[in-house]
Symmetry: D2
Subunit: 320 residues, 4 copies
């Protein structure tokens, strides 16, 4: 394989740049050229991008976002769009493709491979951490730390005013951010899409805490668990507590990546190149059982990633 | 003066604890006792609090919020409430009062002094920085840095997706946070209550930036300048840009105070004690002209604090 | 088991408080009392400590250091000292012991159990991450992020002055911090005790980078790899580059723990209690293969933890 | 004036990039061209640099260091060197010069102007804050916050081990960083070059604190106040306390600038351009009395900046 391409697709995640850097440097180390594609699959269709050098990825390991830019491409969803992308790939002499993104990007890569035979290796990168086949996706650790940092700030003001705060975090289909950040942030309650909750039980727990002398309470709610605004209203109505709502929004997504995400991105990026060079044709990289592994892309996408129930129960116990 | 009291009132601000520490230690240094009142004027009415020692304020200079807690007191707004507070103050042998808070707290202190003759010294602490008589209130610098940090994070994702972000920050009546954080964060536009804005001009500027190659734009909107959601909708409608809204909310208020706020709080807290000991009866501490000063409380409250127009124009020029 | 004790021993590590919190709350949840021992084994001898309540560990999950304090105890190294500790343990009605610390603490716990039969469960907590039986010790992730943050700061000044920086990090016997932080920080070279290095090769790499246009270089050196000062002198002598030395020291050890360390500490603390209640008598908790496990304490201590060679080689490749 | 040049010189300081950005954008706003000189006066001699556009300074307001690079130039110290620089300046059509740096850079600019008549405006930027004519130099606020952050980290480990820490900070001739960061960090003692200290008194204070129940002590020492290592040895010898030394080094200098430094740099950079355009020929910008001002360069350099004695005494009182 003499020339590969790399692109980032879907929502950006901190650590994508560290992954790009690893792909570029590892490939060049093995004598392979790397074409950096701009704006994801849209750029693949248009042939938008350039050949990267070792220096193209200097001083980016510490930066959030993605230097390759990212976009959602309507066109790539159609067979015609993908055919154009294939034509563009052939013109550019690209023999393999590294796709860094979430599960929508994985699906695009799978279809593209199935239709064109272009070898693809996918790297999981999404703050939601909802991709099967890997315990951790790039960006998740940073997002969790961003949320924990915000919860720390909110706790100061919550304590001073003896208030209850309802904090909405990202996670439309999964409660990973809510669970990890809620546990690490010492939240009194954590509401996630994977577990139905009883607002009455949530309130009982708050009342018990206050009786024990707690000066504040924090309830972390994943987007997909229900309306955080509704939770705040209900808590206020049932407990009478001064209850405030905060929606963390896009600050969760940004910032310099943590060491964990930089390392994960570095090893995954390097492994993706090795897999392409070793002749793999349609796989995803992942971490499971503490090991870097790879999986058949179609099989991975057929699974659904489950949240750790024991961790959820532990959060309940520790927030007594 | 053998015993003074200190309380925090209104919204909490990072650095309040550093001010409390300074009041307590400086007073004890001069042989004076300090009664720490809990929950602001409400606690003053109830006599809720305790005598503080040097150790009571150990290891709090770095913490956000206020160890004295804060609350709004309906009761203190009535003459009967204030009479109760006075009775409570006399019972506790308190001969002077340090009030740390915003302009609502200043007004309460002024009325209390006028009715009871109890000497009061006020220390400005509010992230909004809208108190006349001082260039800087305690908490403002930390809040601005919190917003700048959030803008940095949002910029990563804004660039990656080539998006426009509308960021709503605190400031119902004044644009200090928006102006300072917008300028320091390199925002493309800053909308504040003190200056009417023309959404068409805002959009023209965005379009000009994009023509020049800008990959993202950030518009910082103070709460009081108008609806940030409306701004986002209008920008999207008029420019066609992918535009997102983020409301920073309570994370602006919290966190460990900056060095600037800790120092400001320390010198203001110490000065407040000196003023009480020197026989001042109704003043506020402030920084102006680079100097620590004090003002007649009634006179300060009659003024209105203006934003720096030159700084606002500079922000426009630098964000070209 | 109706009453257990918990102590922290050896060097402090961020996340120890989160582990203490988990031990206390999980034990109380199961109807068990927890005696918090102050100053490690020294406090065990003296019976120094107190019974903890749910509230004793409120608001500590986010704090660095250890509320139980830590110390090295000469006395506990002798059979007489341990006999005294045993007497003290019996007096206090303690039926099981959770020891949070590094491998010195593990050895102490093992000997104590062997001589007295008191059930012990050890939790690995050391920023050096050099304890066998676990992939990650509590505190390591925070320390690595602290170092990466420092490297980011140093990079700014290194670039501006086109300098080479030699950064000494902790790790007398192992290069975990150096390797992880060096890789995540994008260091040009990483020198660790586990791999002999050739200063000439290090210099050649620096010269190659500069020829390619690099404006700065950073060399991360673990304490145990040799003298960082000597490395700085040699680099300067052989390359002629303006070379500076920075010894990071104790800032590596402190600070609020990362989300990762808080979670690790929480699950390990909870598991330690479960193991004691389940009748385990002499084990250590660990994470390996992505799973929380436990090991016979004697067997764990007989092993030596190896660094990941592939990761080391990858760092070389990515820093081309 | 149709073309001006801007350079950074001496040690780098966070916020230099924000100043460069302000100079470039403000000048272009007024229809003036800006030549960005690389590597300070050395680059001026060689004509090393390029014409900057609005886009040249995009996304740098948040970065530490200086994109213009900085260096010390032996050559510029000689009349021949300066004559060469003048020839180069004329060739490039440069009609005015903005110099961003510390007092060594100011002296170079003064001599250059005296010999050649080229108008110069200096902007104070040095973390040491030892430039007369301004209360604050660019970079100082960031450096103080960096030190305060390090002290916070050290405090965690100091408390856990009940240790005394001696922390050496920058400041060969002045104690600004030590005083501000020591006060804001709650240090027990602060040793600065401007005030002789009595090690016996320092130790007495430590002993008093421990008797009162303090679990740790932190002594901040400015480089110029004497050997921090010697202080640590003496404290250990006289008190018997477990005493550790930490030298913060270059981490003080780096990192993303605070909001304060970005604002200061922005207003100073803009004002420098205004002054050149208004016909000023040899001045420095400064902040004093809370106002942005400018001073005759020769007069400023004749003064010596004094530390605030009252602040120093306050630090003593608050650290009781």
């Amino acid at each position: 394989m003499r020339r590969i391409a790399v692109l980032t697709s879907g929502g950006d995640a901190p650590g994508m740049n560290a992954a790009i850097r690893a792909v570029v440097r590892k490939a060049i180390f093995h004598g392979c050229e790397v074409f950096g594609v701009r704006r994801g699959f849209a750029g693949l269709i248009e042939g938008d991008g350039e050949l990267f050098t070792l220096g193209s990825v200097a001083d980016i390991i510490q930066t959030g976002g993605t230097i390759l830019l990212t976009a959602r491409s309507e066109e790539f969803l159609s067979p015609e769009g993908r055919a154009e992308a294939f034509a563009s790939v052939r013109r550019a002499g690209i023999e393999g493709l590294v796709v860094i993104g979430g599960d929508g990007s994985f699906k695009g890569a799978l279809t593209f491979h199935a239709e064109t035979g272009v070898p693809v290796v996918c790297i999981p990168a999404t703050i939601d951490n909802d991709i099967p086949g890997t315990d951790y996706a790039i960006g998740f650790d940073t997002a969790v730390n961003n949320v924990v940092d915000a919860v720390n700030k909110i706790r100061d003001t919550a304590t001073s005013h003896e208030r209850t705060f309802v904090v909405e975090v990202m996670g439309r289909h999964s409660g990973f951010i809510a669970l990890y950040a809620g546990l690490a942030g010492g939240a009194e309650s954590i509401l996630i899409p994977e577990a139905p909750f009883d607002i009455e039980a949530v309130c009982r727990k708050l009342l018990r805490g206050v009786r024990r002398g707690k000066l504040h309470s924090i309830i972390v709610v994943a987007e997909g668990a229900g309306s955080a605004a509704e939770v705040a209203r209900e808590v206020k109505a049932r407990t009478g507590f001064d209850t405030k709502l905060t929606i963390l929004g896009h600050i969760q997504r940004g910032g310099t990546p943590t060491a964990f995400d930089r390392l994960l991105a570095s090893v995954m990026g390097a492994r993706a190149v090795e897999l392409l060079l070793a002749g793999e044709r349609c796989v995803a990289v992942g971490v499971s059982g503490g090991q870097l592994r790879h999986y058949n892309l179609a099989e991975v996408l057929a699974e659904r990633k489950e949240i750790d129930r024991e961790l959820y129960q532990l959060a309940e116990i520790l927030a007594i």
